[in-house]
């Protein structure tokens, strides 16, 4: 399952997500971690350290405040509440489109060109990659079939991206002769 996990490892703003979770009411750090893991963690739960370092950053920036401290508690017993500035920050984050990532296949492109330059089998490199992509797509499809709606949506996101890569691999395979001529020109 390590490969599946790898697909999820996109950049997620943990700070904004925790802030958003606080909008429904003040919570302890432990509750925040549990809510995050349940809704977004999948098989990649947050570490306690991540929660507390994120909360102290949010506190420093005035996006959350300490709503109360349980008697006898250390810093981990703090209850956090979102501030007006925090609510504005979440709203701004939600309304800002994510930067579309061009996913330039630079490593693969380099491998293909190098293979052509050194008279190796470039089609073989593309097929090996294609096979690896489909192997992961099969694992995700299987997981999707057995999972709940959240699993399906997450796996679909990964599957559509992998499919796009595969289309690039196919198109490049079909253009190898042309590319070989340019490389050797």
């Amino acid at each position: 399952m390590r490969r599946i996990r790898h697909v999820y490892s996109g950049l997620m703003s943990i700070g904004h997500t925790l802030l958003g979770l606080l909008e429904s009411g003040p919570r302890h750090g432990y509750d925040l971690k549990r809510a995050f893991d349940e809704k977004f963690g999948q098989d990649r739960p947050l570490h306690y350290g991540q929660v507390y370092s994120t909360m102290s950053r949010l506190l420093k920036n005035g996006l959350v405040e300490v709503d109360g401290i349980e008697a006898g508690g250390g810093p981990e017993r703090k209850r956090y509440a979102i501030t007006e500035a925090g609510i504005t920050d979440v709203e701004r984050w939600l309304g800002t489109p994510e930067k579309p990532e061009p996913y330039l296949q630079s490593t693969l492109y380099t491998k293909v060109v190098l293979a052509l330059l050194t008279r190796r089998d470039a089609a073989d490199i593309l097929d090996t990659q294609r096979s690896e992509h489909l192997r992961l797509m099969r694992a995700l499809t299987e997981r999707k079939r057995k999972g709940d709606l959240a699993d399906q949506l997450i796996c679909d996101h990964a599957l559509f991206h992998l499919e796009a890569d595969l289309r690039w691999l196919e198109l490049t395979a079909a253009r190898l002769d042309k590319l070989a001529k340019e490389v050797h020109a």
Binding site: R130, H133, R138, A173
Partner: protein
């Protein structure tokens, strides 16, 4: 000739030309009982010709096709037709249901053609429609149901005779993503539980991801991707 051990259907060194065009140029293929194999490749690569040869619809110019220990390529037309009716099932992209018949009658049709009585045929057909979750459109005609429902009716019809091999040529090609995926889930579940092997021709990777392995056809030549890495 190399036929993988235990394979139900296997082809070796197939050649087929349409005029000056080599549709198949030494293609090979094999599938085991209960296995789902995706046949992928660009348009015009020869993947549909390969499927038609494997199903005994098209006769290759040369090469061997073995089905369950018999040489398909050496059978006469009548024997191949009989085999298609009893052992093979087919699902295409569209245009496969008889518009004048109800969906239930469509699903029961292959059984009726094989001589099964109406009551028995329709009872078996209804069981398959339930498996494909389309029993609610049993009385409707194909023109009155959605594309996704129609395709599930077609899948039910293809499996109603208990085929050992199901040939599916772009079975989700005319459907949107959501309906296409549901058809693939139900098709592969139904085929697996019935122990049928599925030859799945598709150009969509997300559809191919429902298979156990893939064979890529390019310029009439095939490559088993399991042996790539």
């Amino acid at each position: 000739m190399s036929i993988p051990e235990g394979s139900l259907l296997a082809a070796h060194d197939l050649h087929k030309a349409y005029g000056p065009t080599n549709a198949l140029d030494g293609a090979a293929f094999s599938i085991h009982p209960g296995e789902v194999v995706a046949v992928m490749g660009p348009s015009g690569s020869g993947k549909s010709t390969l499927l038609h040869c494997l199903a005994g619809i098209v006769t290759p110019d040369s090469g061997t096709i073995m089905y369950n220990g018999h040489e398909l390529s050496a059978m006469n037309d009548a024997d191949r037709s009989a085999l298609r009716r009893t052992d093979f099932g087919f699902v295409f992209q569209f245009g496969q249901l008889v518009p004048e018949l109800s969906c239930l009658e469509n699903v029961a049709l292959p059984l009726r053609l094989n001589g099964t009585g109406r009551k028995q045929a329709e009872s078996t057909a209804l069981t398959w429609m339930q498996r494909l979750e389309v029993e609610n459109v049993a009385k409707q005609r194909p023109g009155e149901v959605s594309g996704g429902q129609g395709q599930r009716v077609a899948v039910a019809r293809s499996l109603v005779t208990g085929p050992r091999v199901l040939f599916a040529d772009e079975p989700t090609g005319a459907l949107d993503s959501l309906n296409g995926e549901r058809v693939m889930e139900l098709l592969t579940d139904a085929a697996r539980s019935a122990g049928a092997a599925v030859v799945l021709v598709t150009h969509e990777a997300r559809v191919a991801a429902y298979s156990d392995r893939e064979v890529v056809v390019r310029d009439g030549k095939s490559r088993d991707m399991e042996r790539v890495v």
